[in-house]
Symmetry: C2
Subunit: 211 residues, 2 copies
């Protein structure tokens, strides 16, 4: 019950590909056909073993309710089938920013991508509580309007920075909030400008939504 067998891996592979192709997992019958077996028990046996190894999850007793767990994707050396966040097709490219300050080296890493979405490498630890760690890659969508709670790319006098944008009904009304107790809030000044919103973070090779 420790190492995946050939047959188990075959089934996991079949499930992965089926989901990739159709958008939903296969039925027992379809799995039986793919594996060329005739008994449900064969499938149940294999599924049970995949479950025991935490590669797969069978949810409530219900049709097609299989989920490949992260460990399963890892074994298959495939990325999980998660949504790619970030899109939009309009908008003008952002000018390259000159950067310094807290996130010292953002600048050389800023890459115009396409339209109004681009990728940034961030440096520093001021957003660790939001899941953004030193040297992480984030996907930023260029926009002009923000709502309180958005994680934004802000251009300040001494450079660009990633922070949470907060607007509420008490002074100072609008400010930038680091997600790390070590740092203080940043109040808005005339020279500051919000460039875009962080919509996704690259973690372990996968894009994850922001928190």
């Amino acid at each position: 019950m420790e190492k995946i067998t050939k047959r188990q891996k075959q089934l996991l592979e079949i499930i992965y590909n089926y989901i990739k192709d159709t958008g939903y997992p296969p039925t027992f019958e379809e799995m039986r056909e793919s594996l060329d077996v005739v008994s449900n028990q064969s499938i149940i046996d294999l599924l049970t073993k995949l479950e025991n190894q935490k590669l797969l999850k069978r949810n409530e007793a219900s049709a097609r309710s299989l989920t490949i767990l992260p460990l399963g994707n890892k074994i298959l050396e495939r990325p999980p089938l998660i949504p790619f966040l970030g899109s939009t097709t309009a908008g003008s490219p952002m000018e390259t920013m000159e950067i310094a300050g807290e996130w010292k080296q953002i600048s050389p890493e800023i890459k115009e991508l396409k339209n109004n979405v681009f990728i940034l490498k961030v440096f520093g630890d001021s957003m660790i509580n939001a899941g953004i760690e030193n040297e992480d890659i984030v996907l930023v969508k260029e926009q002009k309007e923000f709502i309180s709670g958005d994680i934004v790319l802000a251009q300040t006098e001494d450079g660009s920075t990633i922070k949470r944008f907060i607007s509420d009904d008490k002074p100072p009304y609008v400010y930038l909030k680091p997600e790390n107790q070590k740092y203080k809030n940043i109040v808005f000044t005339d020279g500051m400008e919000l460039k875009g919103k962080v919509i996704s973070i690259l973690k372990n090779g996968y894009w994850e939504p922001v928190k």
Copy 2:
């Protein structure tokens, strides 16, 4: 039968979110509960209308076999739930390449991303039949071994280029094939080196698998 109604959009939304959360579409019962109706017919009516508008597809008479079509995702202003291709966690970073030649400007656009996956902006039309158009963004995974048919990033004497890698049993055995009749095959020379494999193309804001 032309414009989506509030109720129809609600259902589409419910399906989208369900798939996003679970990895597979909801059953009729789950949709009934989410919409707070008691009859299957209500769901069937709505699904039929969504289908007529090409927002959704019901596949073979089978459980949980719903697919949100591109038009449906567009209406929801959500990206389709497609896999994000490209990952792996090991591997050394690729050295920045000096570029010239056919894809003239790849170089300034090469961005080291993380580990052995990076993003490239490509210029030129030599791969249009493979769906890679001028100024498209592609995702490249750094690797050393390739199989015939892979689309690869090759470094040649006069720069880098994206081409299809072909190896077969007739001379010249191994060569690079542009996906455009206007261009000729490139035979291998000593100075050439394959840097990585194109695993995804950014199209209209979404990452798509390569063909």
